[in-house]
């Protein structure tokens, strides 16, 4: 039974390349590169410095932007979540900016920021920033009042209450925001690289389209997917490590 299930699941994954092969063999989708062409293009890219530089650039951009987004959004979210006056003074302005898709900022950032690297990072940062911010706010607001009361009655001051109660209690929500934020960081990074050009996997993929190296487009997509999956897994791992106390609950 267990092994049967595992087989079915493996077959499900295997069906993807098989279907792909069939589709290209039968010529159902004109212009779709074959799995073999993509594989050989993968090998080719593997030996190109440019490819690895793109991988490195995109990865560094995502990681740096994500860390900065978390470092800004979490404290800000906790403050907005806990202090009504602060929230009233800051949040409406942020709410005006939030519905603008980060990628729409690209012309602005290219004009205003001093280096194109920073432009793309800013777009990526914005992608991660709002989900983390909103979830943190929600987490901070959701802290049950009895927890802070308990801490106060045990002698905690407001900073201590923040550190020992509000923050840990909001952590699950913060992590949920980080997971969404990591996904959106990649979305916006790729868009930014495609639009603003230069380097990175988004650019590699788009310039493969421009230059007509169609199998390379799919190499780009796969590489982006793998890196995206790895970074999400890292965020999850970090989250689980940070809130060991919650695992016990479900166990």
């Amino acid at each position: 039974m267990e092994t049967r299930r595992r087989l079915v699941r493996a077959a499900s994954i295997l069906a993807v390349p098989v279907l792909w092969l069939a589709v290209t063999r039968l010529g159902i989708v004109a212009g779709l590169p074959t799995p073999m062409a993509v594989a050989s293009s993968f090998l080719e890219e593997f030996y190109r410095q440019d490819f690895w530089l793109s991988v490195a650039r995109s990865t560094v951009r995502v990681l740096v932007s994500f860390v900065v987004a978390a470092a800004v959004a979490i404290p800000l979210g906790l403050l907005v979540g806990r202090y009504t006056v602060f929230a009233d003074l800051t949040f409406p302005a942020l709410e005006m900016l939030r519905p603008i898709p980060p990628i729409a900022w690209i012309p602005f950032t290219i004009l205003v920021l001093p280096a194109s690297e920073l432009s793309i990072m800013f777009i990526t940062f914005l992608g991660a920033f709002f989900p983390i911010l909103l979830n943190t706010i929600q987490g901070a607001r959701g802290v049950e009042v009895e927890f802070s009361r308990a801490a106060q009655s045990l002698g905690a001051g407001s900073f201590q209450t923040f550190r020992h109660v509000i923050y840990p209690s909001a952590l699950p929500a913060i992590h949920a925001g980080m997971i969404v934020g990591m996904g959106l960081a990649w979305v916006n990074l790729i868009a930014g690289e495609m639009v603003a050009g230069g380097t990175g996997l988004g650019f590699l993929t788009w310039s493969a389209y421009t230059s007509g190296s169609y199998p390379t487009i799919i190499v780009g997509i796969i590489t982006i997917g793998v890196l995206g999956a790895i970074s999400s897994a890292l965020v999850r791992l970090f989250a689980n490590w940070q809130i060991g106390w919650r695992e016990v609950e479900s166990a």
């Binding site: 009895e146 308990a150 801490a151 045990l154 002698g155 952590l171 106390w245």
Partner: protein, 281 residues
């Protein structure tokens, strides 16, 4: 003030309060209105109550009559709309480690281990020696569970850990809001014993909110019954049963008498509360 306190203690057939005892609570003309601008809810209306130092008082009353509101005012979580709460001569203006609180739903910090929970209070008030936490854990039968997270404990153990956390701070006053209502019968009995043990030894003032009439009589020196909302003091019953009281005390005639008295007051008030509710529907 201290005069009245002494009177009470005598009535409870307990020893005199320790000289220089602390933890006397004076509730004076307490009124609490929720949402005074919008839909006003008068939760407590002009209530007066004195609780002597080291006294054990149980607070009974129909659901929604304002028991938790009173407790929150004493704890310093809520600002009275009118009137005030005075503890040992000082007006309550906020939470204080001298007034420890146990909540109805267990409020151990789930992200801290049992030991971290218990050490939290002493840490926040670095005057108290931290070694104390350890002893208290042992005393509460929690040795071996120091590094467990609250979610890994049974309900009874959680409640013991919460009591331990409170005691680690050595408060003068223990405010307990239906602390045992979620426990099963046996665990509840064990916890009641534990509580009385702690109270008798350390001479703290206890305000104990419960819905359970028998529990109130079994534990308290005095049982205060509140009216339906807006809450006021309806009746004060002196429990003149000898201590220590074993579980069999519930079969005595005096117990039954006290129980009947409390029950009839409560039933009357509960009926009134119900009528109010249905009138609103």
């Amino acid at each position: 003030m201290s005069n009245q306190s002494q009177t009470t203690r005598e009535q409870t057939a307990e020893g005199e309060p320790t000289p220089g005892a602390t933890g006397a609570i004076d509730i004076e003309d307490l009124t609490k209105v929720y949402d005074p601008e919008g839909e006003r809810v008068v939760a407590v209306d002009d209530m007066d109550l004195h609780i002597g130092a080291e006294e054990f008082v149980a607070l009974l009353g129909p659901s929604g009559c304002g028991k938790s509101t009173v407790m929150n005012c004493i704890a310093g979580y809520l600002e009275p709309t009118e009137g005030e709460v005075i503890v040992d001569g000082n007006r309550v203006s906020g939470p204080d480690p001298k007034r420890g609180v146990v909540f109805q739903d267990n409020r151990l910090f789930p992200w801290k281990t049992v030991q971290e929970n218990v050490e939290f209070g002493p840490q926040m008030n670095d005057g108290v020696e931290a070694g104390r936490a350890r002893n208290i854990l042992d005393e509460m039968g929690l040795d071996g569970f120091e590094d467990a997270y609250p979610s890994g404990l049974s309900g009874g153990m959680q409640q013991r850990a919460e009591l331990a956390r409170l005691l680690a701070n050595d408060p003068d006053i223990m405010l307990m809001d239906e602390p045992f209502s979620a426990l099963d019968a046996l665990t509840k009995e064990i916890m009641q014993k534990k509580l009385i043990e702690v109270w008798e030894r350390d001479n703290r003032t206890v305000l104990f909110i419960t819905h359970d009439v028998e529990e109130a009589i079994l534990l308290a020196d005095r049982v205060v019954v509140m009216t339906a909302r807006p809450g006021q003091v309806k009746d004060v019953i002196d429990v003149d049963l000898d201590r220590p009281r074993d579980p069999e005390v519930v079969t005595t005639d005096r117990f039954t008498e006290l129980r009947e008295r409390a029950l009839s007051v409560i039933r009357e008030e509960a009926q009134r509360a119900l009528e109010q509710e249905e009138g609103q529907a």
